[in-house]
């Protein structure tokens, strides 16, 4: 497009002030739009490069505005041709240099924070004013010299643009903005080569129109950049829309999956709690049956006792009932516990001991039960209950010939964590010989031995102001 336009301009030698003004205005508007677009991109993507470029183009836009407006008014003593040379040509150079320098500097500044923007703008504006002042003293046009160049003062501009092109080109994997600037900068370099051969209107020459070609090229370069930046923005928008719709889809999918999983979990939970309820029901039923059967056996034993004449046999069966009661009481506690597996052993020991005392002791035996709270399961509760039954019964049977006395049941945890069960009385104590004789024959002592070994316990029996039986067993607190 630039090639075609440039060729047309050169063939028809177009060089009218009106056309010139149109192109200047276009360059001003195009660079202004570029600055705004870059500013928008920098806000959206937070790229310092876009931000510094926006500042460079913003300063350029002001310079272009000055270049456009200055040609429209001239001082009263100047002819139009004089004004053309003095002002139009005089303001071209500063804006051409400032744009190439600004775009190049933005590249160098791209790794710096955006807050340097104000300082950058100020430096560019001061530089522009300085250039404006300098170029007022330099000649605008010279007779064709080296290679026919008429404006040697502008030779730096295409060189700077070439350098910028190279710099932006080298910015591999950089932001998309960089490659857009590279393409535009190469066109700028080309356009500013043409201005080197431009002449004022009153220089008859074959190179008429080169100035316009340069203007046209500059506008084309701005427009090219504008187009690229718009494309970048549009691509961004398209990408964002696509990402948003993907996100929406993903969200829907996730919501659906969460819904499914939730209902699955709710279902599993219901099944689980149903299974648990069934388990509880079944366990309660089993405990109920066990208790009922124990009660049944107890009833049979009760009936049997009434039919016996032999006092020893009656005593033996009463002993059996005490043991049955201990077993039944364990199951009663289990049924009442929340988890149906464990219960606190301390009220159980109290109830058990009281029942034995009142069953055979009479009213002159006092009982004290001091048990720490201890959660136990069947494995511990049954041997412990039976042991207390046997030991308390022993004391009642042997310790108090006159029927008066005191029995103490203590369950405690020692400092090393071992559990200790103590059953003591303040009775007659025992004679070692007699005791070992009894050990050989008594059912009670045989049961005690069996229960002690089942608990993997140690038993110590002492005779000291009565009988003290101490049973040590391990229990980690976990039933």
């Amino acid at each position: 497009m630039f090639g075609l336009g440039a060729t047309c301009i050169l063939i028809w030698q177009v060089q009218s002030p009106i056309f010139h003004t149109i192109l200047d205005t276009s360059a001003f508007l195009a660079s202004g739009l570029v600055a705004l677009l870059l500013w928008d991109i920098s806000k959206r993507t937070n790229q310092p490069l876009a931000w510094f470029l926006a500042i460079a183009f913003g300063v350029l836009t002001m310079a272009e505005l000055l270049h456009t407006l200055i040609a429209l008014e001239r001082l009263s003593w100047e002819t139009a041709a004089e004004a053309e040379v003095r002002w139009r040509a005089g303001t071209w150079a500063p804006s051409a240099y400032i744009s190439a320098i600004g775009v190049g500097a933005a590249l160098l500044l791209r790794t710096y924070p955006q807050r340097l923007g104000a300082a950058f703008a100020l430096v560019l504006i001061l530089l522009y004013v300085a250039l404006l002042a300098i170029f007022q003293f330099l000649p605008r046009y010279l007779l064709p010299g080296f290679f026919g160049i008429t404006r040697p003062t502008l030779i730096g501009v295409p060189l700077l643009w070439m350098a910028a092109t190279f710099g932006y080109w080298r910015l591999e994997k950089g932001p998309q903005v960089a490659s857009a600037v590279a393409a535009s900068a190469s066109l700028m370099a080309l356009a500013h080569c043409f201005i080197l051969f431009s002449q004022p209107a009153d220089y008859p020459s074959l190179t008429i129109g080169t100035g316009m070609v340069a203007h046209f090229g500059k506008v084309a370069a701005d427009l090219l950049l504008l187009l690229s930046l718009t494309q970048i923005g549009a691509a961004d928008t398209a990408r964002r829309l696509r990402a948003e719709s993907e996100l929406t889809l993903l969200n829907k999918y996730l919501e659906q999956r969460i819904g499914e999983r939730t209902s699955e979990l709710v279902g599993a939970n219901e099944r689980l709690s149903q299974a648990l309820e069934e388990r509880d029901l079944l366990l309660r039923e089993v405990y109920h049956r066990v208790k009922n059967n124990l009660q049944l056996i107890d009833s049979i034993v009760t009936l049997q006792v009434r039919r016996l004449a032999d006092p020893d046999a009656k005593l033996a069966l009463k002993g059996l009932r005490r043991r049955l009661y201990a077993l039944g009481l364990v199951h009663q506690q289990l049924m009442g516990s929340p988890d149906l597996k464990t219960f606190d052993v301390s009220p159980f020991l109290k109830e058990l001991s009281e029942n034995i005392i009142e069953g055979i002791g009479g009213r002159d035996i006092s009982l004290s039960v001091k048990a720490i709270p201890l959660n136990v399961g069947l494995d511990i509760a049954i041997p412990l209950g039976l042991l207390v039954t046997e030991l308390v019964t022993n004391s009642l049977k042997h310790a108090f010939p006159d029927g008066k006395g005191k029995i103490e049941v203590v369950l405690d945890r020692r400092e090393d964590g071992t559990m200790v069960l103590v059953v003591s009385d303040n009775g007659t104590g025992y004679d070692i010989l007699e005791a070992s004789e009894k050990r050989a024959h008594g059912l009670g002592t045989a049961l005690i031995d069996g229960l002690v070994s089942q608990l993997k316990a140690i038993i110590r029996v002492r005779s000291m102001n009565g009988t003290i039986s101490e049973i040590l067993f391990a229990h980690d607190g976990e039933p």
Binding site: R284, D298, G359
Partner: protein, 128 residues
């Protein structure tokens, strides 16, 4: 309400247990006026014998249970009712409480528990 008999009615669907309880009551020197194994039978016998005390199991044969029987007897006869239950479930205990029980004993019931409760009930019924 007329005066009740100084006797005990035993309601229990396990006949052997009923026999055992009868033996225990008799050992205490009291009269057992009868045993029943359904709620209907219990109500009928309670109306005939008008016992001061009824030992009532919760689980019985048939549809109605001991709680239903106790309700009917409480309204028509007014015997002191001692529940003897194998269950320690809160649900059962709550139902029993609605029925104005004199006491609730949990199986296994020891001789002394039974003896104490029965003599207290007799005292309450004015039959001591």
């Amino acid at each position: 309400m007329t005066v009740l008999e100084k006797a005990v009615l035993i309601v229990e669907d396990e006949h052997v247990i009923a026999m055992g309880l009868s033996a225990q009551i008799e050992d205490m020197g009291l009269e057992v006026c009868g045993t029943a194994d359904t709620a209907e039978d219990a109500v009928a016998q309670a109306r005939i014998h008008r016992p001061a005390i009824i030992l009532m199991d919760v689980r019985l044969r048939g549809k109605a249970d001991g709680v239903d029987a106790a309700q009917a007897i409480y309204e028509s006869v007014g015997s002191k009712i001692i529940f003897i239950t194998g269950s320690r479930e809160q649900q059962t205990i709550d139902r029993i409480k609605l029925d104005h029980p004199f006491a609730t004993l949990f199986k296994p019931v020891s001789d002394r528990q039974l003896a104490t409760t029965v003599s207290e009930a007799m005292l309450a019924a004015g039959q001591a």
